[in-house]
């Protein structure tokens, strides 16, 4: 048959690509030796709800967040000049990055994605747990499950905005420490929440719970706000990340390469997990 080889080649392409596509839709990942057989792309799977409830100590109810009335006189921070990576930063290390946090993590995820892709890292997943506090992160096993599922080599932690008015230092510190243990020894960068000048104990409590030089306090930054008056605006997130990136390259406990991205708006290839503490407490 004259065209037999054409059919054979056609089947080669169809079957090979189908196999690779189909493998991406299989929920489990296979491992050969120490190597995970990677997928063509990752599909989003909902996080399993945890049925088991854990009894926790009673803590103060958080007061309502107060928006400053006059913002006209505020002098905002700006994106800092990039600082060259410290000599101990190994440029060839490509991290699998996981971002965990509350709604501020949701705002930060795309900016972090730009930084990661531009620096050779891969943002594998983001957990945006709106309205969550350290209580959710510490008491649930959601984070442990996500870490097990995505096997990150570096974790960004960013929460605390929903508890900036809390005054119970020791409880917050204990919860933060409990959460920190869930990271299971993974290198991490813990970013403190923006506070708009109303931080009582949270930043200090988180800083005390984190390993030395693993916490980046954000309360000194004066970031442009979004129209909701609560979160930073997009330029605000970029300024914030610029500061975090410099700290990561220069003085953090686990330094990684984080030069400014060549551009913003890289394709979003990470798995975005969105939760809301109002209907999913996690414990």
């Amino acid at each position: 048959m004259k065209t037999g080889y054409l059919f054979l080649a056609s089947l080669c392409f169809i079957l090979v690509c189908s196999a690779l596509y189909l493998y991406s839709y299989i929920p489990s990942t296979y491992i050969v030796g120490d190597q995970e057989i990677k997928k063509l792309f990752e599909i989003e799977t909902p996080v399993q709800k945890v049925e088991r409830k854990i009894e926790v100590a009673k803590i103060d109810t958080l007061p309502t967040f107060i928006i400053p009335k006059d913002t006209t006189k505020i002098v905002y921070s700006s994106i800092p000049e990039p600082i060259l990576p410290d000599s101990s930063v190994d440029d060839s290390t490509r991290h699998r990055v996981l971002l965990i946090g509350d709604s501020e993590a949701g705002g930060m995820k795309n900016v972090l994605n730009d930084y990661c892709q531009s620096n050779g890292h891969k943002l594998v997943a983001t957990v945006e747990w709106s309205s969550a506090t350290s209580l959710n992160f510490a008491k649930s096993d959601t984070i442990s499950k996500i870490i097990k599922r995505y096997r990150p080599t570096f974790v960004f932690v960013l929460f605390g905005l929903n508890e900036v008015l809390a005054k119970d230092y020791s409880t917050r510190k204990a919860l933060a420490r409990q959460f920190q243990k869930k990271l299971n020894g993974l290198p991490y960068a813990w970013i403190g929440p923006t506070n708009w000048g109303y931080d009582y104990v949270v930043t200090d409590a988180f800083q005390a719970a984190a390993d030395s030089a693993a916490f980046f306090p954000s309360k000194h930054l004066n970031l442009p706000k979004a129209t909701d008056g609560r979160h930073p605006s997009l330029p605000g997130y970029r300024i914030w990340m610029g500061n975090v990136a410099n700290w990561l390259q220069e003085s953090s406990r686990w330094k990684i390469r984080m030069m400014p991205p060549e551009r913003f708006g890289y394709p979003k290839k990470y798995k975005a997990i969105v939760l809301n503490a109002a209907d999913y407490r996690g414990y």
Binding site: L6, V16, Y21, S92
Partner: protein, 497 residues
């Protein structure tokens, strides 16, 4: 076995076919379609199946291939498809007119046709260059225009010109069948980034594709696999380091800048030759043979030889339609050197509307002229070839700095860093901090030194492997790419031209 079937059944159940199909049919400026997309490879497999059915029916096969090529162009360039079709139709009638005209009328029609063809390229590629330089020269304040360059326009414009000029020169007959001309222009393997195919080499193949046999099947798969590996593994990996250094050259030591330039030499070669390999492989499967575009250029012992081996389809086009058209070597020694310089300036300007490309072209033009002058006085022999090879590689790498740098100033910064801020410690530091990259660069340098005949023999041996096993090669190669490639696949470098 039942478990495997169950897993596959479940996986198929979760595939959002409707959404995938909708996304597939739409054109996206953010994700233009190119050969490295897995969706392309899958679609190509499906296309090939029906192509095999239609293979013996000439008219249907041609229409089917043209339709697929147009869809491919639509996925890459969206609305510019209309412009492309318009140019094809007008070119077809111009060629018929040129053939029928005689005397001065023939020349006038040919000039109009070439200018018409060139006008699209000039309109989309060069207005900002003109505006910027006018503003600089005359202190005017014209605002730059925001134009999207249709993908492949530089390539298909040169193809169109070669057809019109060849008809004018009487080297080929103007084709009577518009589908034949459309087939030549739209043939998707060479459509968006070359090789620049000449009508006289291709039009006679349009109606008589070679029927595929075992050898052709294996050769095409080998070319496609090699091309994908070259692009997605080697070029993209090197590209990360190159981007870093060329973005902020003053942040890096002289040694790192130097190695960045060397890495770019390899990146552009593996990127573009990888693309050409895929294009040639795809065309081969369809029954058509495109000319080779690269022939181990970094093994060239002088710059003249380099241009016989690098982007052959462009260099031979420039030779035939610019250098020879100007007078070639028939108008005295001085004019020969001048024509060489002009030809390479055109080549540089073709790559992009920027002075850095002009500088790149001028450097090559001067080197070609200089080599022509000195060639007769240089001793010959294997050692001279070896030394010449090293000098040529260094020179070409030096020129690539201008080609890749953001702008002219940035290129000068890199040269400044290399000249004044290089020490042997830079290389030691590079070895320890970027060990994998250093090993890759050394491997690639050794690869250059291996004679091309040995490499060709290696490829020949692979053809003894039974046809059935090539399925597993393709699967292994693609999984290998998924395993080690970058998260972000960069577009082919030559797409921007």
């Amino acid at each position: 076995m039942q478990q495997i079937i169950e897993v596959i059944r479940q996986a198929i159940g979760t595939v959002p076919f409707e959404q995938l199909l909708r996304e597939f049919m739409l054109y996206s400026t953010k994700q233009p379609w190119f050969f490295t997309e897995f969706s392309f490879l899958f679609t190509f497999g499906l296309f090939l199946f029906f192509y095999a059915i239609l293979f013996t029916q000439n008219a249907l096969r041609k229409v089917y291939l043209i339709a697929f090529s147009l869809f491919f162009y639509y996925k890459s360039s969206g609305p510019f498809l209309g412009l492309f079709l318009f140019q094809i139709i007008v070119d077809y009638f111009f060629a018929r007119k040129i053939e029928r005209a005689e005397g001065n009328a023939k020349q006038i029609w040919a000039t109009i046709a070439v200018l018409f063809s060139l006008s699209f390229l000039l309109y989309f590629k060069y207005p900002n260059f003109l505006i910027e330089n006018t503003n600089w020269l005359l202190l005017t304040h014209f605002e730059s225009v925001d134009l999207f360059l249709p993908i492949g326009i530089s390539f298909y414009t040169f193809q169109s010109i070669s057809y019109l000029v060849d008809v004018y020169r009487g080297e080929i007959r103007a084709t009577k069948n518009i589908t034949d001309y459309a087939f030549y222009m739209t043939f998707f393997p060479h459509l968006v980034a070359g090789p620049i195919v000449r009508a006289k080499d291709f039009l006679n193949q349009v109606n008589s594709p070679e029927s595929p046999d075992a050898r052709r099947y294996k050769e095409s798969l080998l070319r496609i696999i090699l091309g994908l590996l070259k692009k997605l593994l080697i070029a993209d990996y090197l590209g990360k380091y190159v981007d870093m250094v060329f973005e902020n050259p003053s942040f890096y030591t002289g040694g790192e800048n130097l190695l960045g330039a060397v890495a770019y030499s390899f990146q552009i070669y593996f990127d573009f030759s990888g693309y050409s390999d895929i294009a040639i492989g795809l065309a081969l499967l369809l029954g058509y043979r495109l000319k080779e575009n690269f022939d181990h250029p970094y093994g060239a012992s002088n710059v003249t030889e380099f241009w016989r081996k690098w982007h052959i389809s462009l260099s031979s086009w420039l030779r035939d339609y610019v250098y020879i058209a100007l007078g070639g070597n028939r108008k005295g020694a001085f004019n020969t050197y001048l024509f060489l310089l002009i030809t390479m300036l055109v080549g540089g300007f073709w790559h992009g509307a920027s002075w850095k490309f002009v500088a790149w072209g001028a450097a090559h033009g001067l080197a070609l002229a200089l080599h022509k002058v000195a060639n007769k006085h240089l001793p010959e022999g294997k050692w001279m070839d070896f030394i010449g090879g090293i000098c040529t590689f260094c020179f070409v790498t030096f020129c690539w700095i201008f080609f890749r740098a953001k702008d002219f100033d940035s290129a000068l910064t890199i040269l400044n860093q290399i000249t004044y801020a290089t020490s042997e410690l830079d290389f030691l530091g590079f070895w320890f901090s970027r060990n994998e990259l250093a090993i890759l660069l050394i491997t690639l340098l050794v690869w250059i030194l291996i004679p091309s005949t040995w490499k060709k023999k290696g490829f020949e041996w692979s053809f003894y492997i039974p046809s059935f096993f090539w399925f597993f090669f393709l699967l292994a190669a693609l999984q290998f790419i998924i395993q080690f490639r970058d998260a972000l696949v960069q577009p082919f470098i030559y797409f921007q031209f």
